[in-house]
């Protein structure tokens, strides 16, 4: 027995070391890609010029490009990656569905509907410029409400239908329905508003004003802090509602907090960057493969790091460094995310229902 104890203890230490090492590697990757994202872009700028622009304030043209465009864009990519991945992780655990994610289940669509109400509906008396300042908060709040409403609907559906694929199909129906409503709203809105909305739907990491970036940063930080509090609850929810209750979790309360958290994370990103697909669903699976654990005390920080890394990589690819063309970032994230999703579907056929 004693030797057994020792063996397991050393295994514990080993797995603890492995986790720390992986965290370190992911953190270094995050820094590397954050730097690369600033260094690489449509305009080739020499490394020394980038450093000058960042630290010396020489007032060159490069400085404008770096400080006004590349740096905010890199930070936006980082925040977006963190927020979407984290909301995906929370949704997968709460719904106990490996296919859950803000995009596939229509949470992003719900957020779009909220945004559409603000841009196409209520603001018809305002000009677009009045959306800056307080307007950003209205936009983001509308997005949260839209995301939250869809979350609630999916929750009700999940409680009635246990089959994962059915929930997924209903989620797709839901987002199609919401798109239809938005289309009808577009039909009745005026030209300026319509143009503003269409530009928004294209989704971009680079169009954020500094004020918007601030709003995004504050909201996502709030979401991340809430998510850290939820890690123990998420671990309990892995076993399902009954077991979670029997070990002392107030499931309703925990779910409400996690829903609010997810809506804030996914809603804020969608409000400013448009719907960005497949990051939320794919990153948590990549993190599970890396860490081979179900413990959210590891998965949450892992997802935060990996989400940032993968979104930064997507942003670098979308800029096609050295060329003048820019790809829509949504296309890049889809191409990265879809293979992961397909892998999950195939793996799940083996033991259906588990994640």
């Amino acid at each position: 027995m004693k030797t057994e104890s020792k063996r397991s203890l050393s295994a514990d230490i080993k797995s603890g070391r492995k986790v720390k090492l992986l965290f370190l590697i992911l953190f270094l990757l995050l820094i590397i890609f954050l730097v690369l994202d600033v260094f690489l872009g449509s305009v080739s700028i020499r490394a020394s010029d980038v450093i000058d622009a960042l630290f010396r304030h020489t007032g060159s043209n490069f400085e404008t490009i770096i400080l006004k465009f590349r740096l905010p864009k890199a930070f936006t990519a980082l925040i977006v990656g963190v927020a979407l991945s984290l909301s995906g992780l929370q949704m997968q655990t709460v719904f106990r569905n490996p296919m859950a994610g803000p995009y596939v289940l229509g949470i992003s669509s719900g957020a779009s509907l909220g945004v559409a109400f603000v841009i196409l509906g209520f603001s018809s008396g305002m000009t677009l410029d009045s959306l800056h300042g307080l307007g950003n908060w209205i936009l983001v709040a509308a997005s949260w409400v839209g995301a939250g409403a869809v979350m609630l609907l999916i929750m009700i559906i999940s409680s009635k239908v246990k089959d994962i694929m059915t929930v997924l199909i209903l989620g797709i129906m839901l987002s199609s329905g919401i798109s239809a409503v938005v289309t009808i709203m577009q039909y009745f809105s005026n030209e300026t508003m319509l143009k503003a909305y269409v530009i928004w739907t294209m989704g971009s990491l680079g169009n954020l004003t500094s004020n918007q970036l601030n709003v995004l940063l504050i909201s996502v930080s709030a979401g991340v802090i809430l998510s850290l509090f939820s890690s123990k609850w998420l671990n309990a929810l892995l076993l399902g509602e009954n077991y979670a209750t029997s070990i002392g979790l107030n499931v309703k309360f925990a779910r409400t907090i996690i829903f609010v958290c997810t809506s804030i994370l996914a809603g804020s990103v969608t409000a400013f960057c448009g719907p960005i697909g497949f990051i939320g669903i794919a990153v948590p699976h990549i993190v599970r493969i890396l860490f081979r654990t179900s413990d959210h005390r590891v998965l949450i920080p892992g997802t935060i790091l990996a989400g940032g890394v993968i979104m930064l990589i997507s942003d670098i690819i979308s800029q096609l460094p050295g060329s003048e063309n820019i790809l829509p970032v949504n296309a890049v994230t889809s191409l990265i995310g879809i293979p992961v999703v397909i892998w999950v579907i195939f793996r799940n056929r083996k033991y259906s229902g588990s994640f």
């Binding site: 077991y243 070990i247 081979r292 588990s354």
Partner: protein, 340 residues
Amino acid sequence: MKKKSQKILSVSSLKIGYGSGKNEHVLLPPLNAHADKGELIAVIGRNGIGKSTLLRTVTGLQKPLGGEILYDGKNITDYSLMELAQKVGYISTETVKVSNMRVYDLVALGRFPHTNWIGKIEPKDHEAIVDALKKTSMFSFSDRYVSELSDGERQKAMIARILAQDTGVMIMDEPTAFLDVGSKYEIFHLLNILSNSNNKTIIFSTHDLQMAISQSDKIWLILDDELVTGSPEDLMLAGSFEHLFDPSVVLFNSYDGTFSFRNEKKGNIYIEGTGNKRHWTEKAVQRAGFTVSREMTSLYIITPGENNAKWRLMSKTDSEEFSSVYELITSLKKEKINPF
């Protein structure tokens, strides 16, 4: 050694069921029962009568429609969820399917009511987890993934989880439902040890009446119009189990707690011999529809003994030898025996 008798759970005029107000659907008449420390209690009743509902209600997962449930003399509604989780643990029939979850992590979830806000495993939690793993002989499985376990191993891991939760009462809904015979015995053995040596009160539902009768300290027998409680022997003497079966089809033998089907009677037969071989020959003969007679019959069986190695079927004129019970019974079925 006599265990210190101490009421840990008591249920009085409990109404279980679903819905509320006018849509209230009460499953059973008001129930009264109690459990002492260290008792192994089997809940028995036909499918759909409300065993699971009763267990869920007693665990606090479902609101009772009336009556009260007391843990250590305090009403279940006066406990917070965290406090209740330190009094009673639960295993449902739901199988846990989580990939990437190690057995250790599953058992660690049992520490939920004992850990801090982020669920940090302190040395005392680690000790409790290791202890639970050892008691269920799952220690060597610590690093295995739950999704890779067999049904029996997974059930033991679930029991380890509830042990780590460190509750006085453990409630299990059909813990042996999907298990093969070997694992089933192992689980029953484990429950027995936990109640006897670790003073845990275990309330479990089962369809295995024979096992329940031989292993449990007490039985809660749910019938259509009442809940009968008592030691298996008391219920046996009172003939309570007979209410579980259709008396025209199943015959319950209240002498040894076995059942048999009421087959068409084919006649009486006398068996000569003693010991193990006689015992099993009797069983086979009964299954074939004969009654074992205490008086000599014209056709009778001699079981293998000192003088002979084979079974012999004797009649006035003839004697046949068989090398197995199977052959004997096959031949016996063809015989025409006059009743008496």
